[in-house]
Symmetry: C2
Subunit: 312 residues, 2 copies
């Protein structure tokens, strides 16, 4: 097993193996996670981070690919984090493998990782944030975070990246569009992908209508059209992403986002640590007895928890 | 403000106002939540609970409606919990309201509630479980839990209901189908909705292929076809739901599900309580200082949390 010292240098050089290992440490709450993050902490804050979120079928993976290729061509190192149960990277073994083939994989300058920490309490958003920092420390210029944007974890993930892009697509019906309601407020850019499809004008009208209802916050999220499959609109997307970055820097937005990110991680890590402590103090027998009591209906869960906390 | 004693009787009689209030107590961690649940605990375990999960646009809301109508016609009282950011009940104000009109609403014998506890740590699945219990205690015969089935919370919600139905739909593409990968393992029934659309046979073949790869677990999840809009296939769905209920009772499945449910709630409530305690012990000043240190990069989040826990 490598130590923190073993990981530190290869990680800072951007070696994929060290990066993969370090991300796993963060996901699993490895004892070395804290020391590693403390060592890397002074080296962070250089990478640009873009979030791509949208419904299944909206073309997020293709957009991510195309964006990554343009950045690669500029000589950048690009990290991709797929926080998405529908993503080819993290998706089901059966259908996922078939699709994965089509995507950019082990090209030099690219690091791809799927984030899927089932069962970690609030840990997905926190672990993704950790992974962004690790990629940053490893010298990646841009990190693209791809997520389906449904569920609190997913919203948390993209709500605190530098620029959050919401991908919409024409003709997917009211229900598909309604999915965006929770994420409208965190959108910095709207992308209408598959823009050659019928209904693109209508989607744009709906987005503009929603925007007009929102409170003005200084930055007016632009609505872009792309055809990711054909590569159209990607340079424009990149330009807007950079424009937004400049705007953030000039208007104190980076500090605000840093604070949101800090809160997300602190709350999540504090929760994880608090639970670990209480469970350790209670011990497995008491925890098991409480669980059994709830299951056989001799004890209600609220009283069970109050009992455990009263005793430790 | 009502007391536990004020709520108890109207709630047991199934009054919507008392139910709504009690569910809010559970969502918000109201001080009366524990006492109320303790009082109701002996009266639980009678309601049948069905989960309906699937992608946006799969027709979950329509299926839920139709199912509820059939049960109503049998003289049942039906509770519907919409745990779904795309649901007309919980969805965005703009598009949501338009769709909501079309759905069964305040019919006698129906109680509908959207569950959306943003920011509650792991609280959504737990609060939904509490709401199921409240409906159970209030004399509802069947509770239908509708969720988009993406994200850990949503999977947690349906993974421990009595019968979990996964709704698929023809022709929504590989990516849409891949969404199901995470939820395949918890499916008790597969429903191919909009079965008159082209591609129904292919979806069925894909489901059968996935099933053949899964470990046999005694219950072989059937694949049903419905056209919810036209009401077709709903009686068959109901029959399979009941068949599964009988199977669970005869094969110890109810005890297993009760244990999963107990674990979900216990873990979640313990986490909520542990975090409340640590935060209270640390005090707002110390928490704020840690947060500020992370945001301005003078302190890494792991060390910040270790510091707080070391002091309290």
């Amino acid at each position: 097993m490598p130590t923190v010292a073993d990981l530190l240098e290869p990680l800072r050089r951007g070696e994929a193996r060290a990066l993969g290992r370090a991300i796993s440490w963060m996901e699993n709450g490895h004892p070395g996670a804290r020391e590693l993050m403390a060592q890397l902490w002074p080296h962070l804050g250089r990478a640009a981070v873009i979030g791509i979120t949208g419904s299944p079928g909206a073309g997020k993976s293709t957009l991510t690919d195309r964006l990554a290729r343009v950045l690669l061509a500029e000589g950048q190192k690009v990290g991709i984090l797929a926080v998405d149960p529908t993503s080819p990277f993290s998706g089901g073994a059966i259908l996922g493998d078939r699709i994965r083939m089509q995507r950019i994989a082990a090209e030099p300058g690219i690091f791809i990782r799927s984030m899927a920490t089932r069962g970690a309490l609030g840990g997905l958003a926190r672990a993704t944030q950790d992974a962004i920092d690790l990629l940053d420390a490893a010298g990646f210029d841009t990190v693209i975070v791809e997520t389906v944007g449904v569920g609190q974890d997913e919203v948390d993930v993209v709500s605190c990246v530098q620029t959050c892009c919401v991908v919409l697509v024409p003709g997917m019906g009211d229900e598909i569009q309604a999915i965006k309601a929770g994420i409208m407020e965190v959108a910095d850019l709207f992308i209408i992908n598959k823009a050659d499809r019928e209904g693109a004008d209508q989607v744009e009208r709906e987005v503009e209508a929603m925007k007009s209802l929102a409170m003005p916050q200084g930055w007016d999220p632009p609505v872009l059209r792309t055809m990711a499959q054909q590569g159209e609109g990607i340079p424009e997307l990149l330009a807007k992403f950079r424009e937004h970055g400049v705007w953030l820097r000039e208007h104190g937005g980076l500090a605000r986002k840093a604070r949101e990110r800090a809160r997300l991680r602190f709350d999540s890590l504090l929760a994880e640590a608090a639970v670990r402590r209480v469970r350790a103090q209670a011990g497995p027998e008491r925890l098991e007895a409480a669980l059994q009591g709830i299951a056989d209906r001799s004890l209600d869960p609220y009283s069970a928890v109050a009992g455990i906390l009263g005793e430790v």
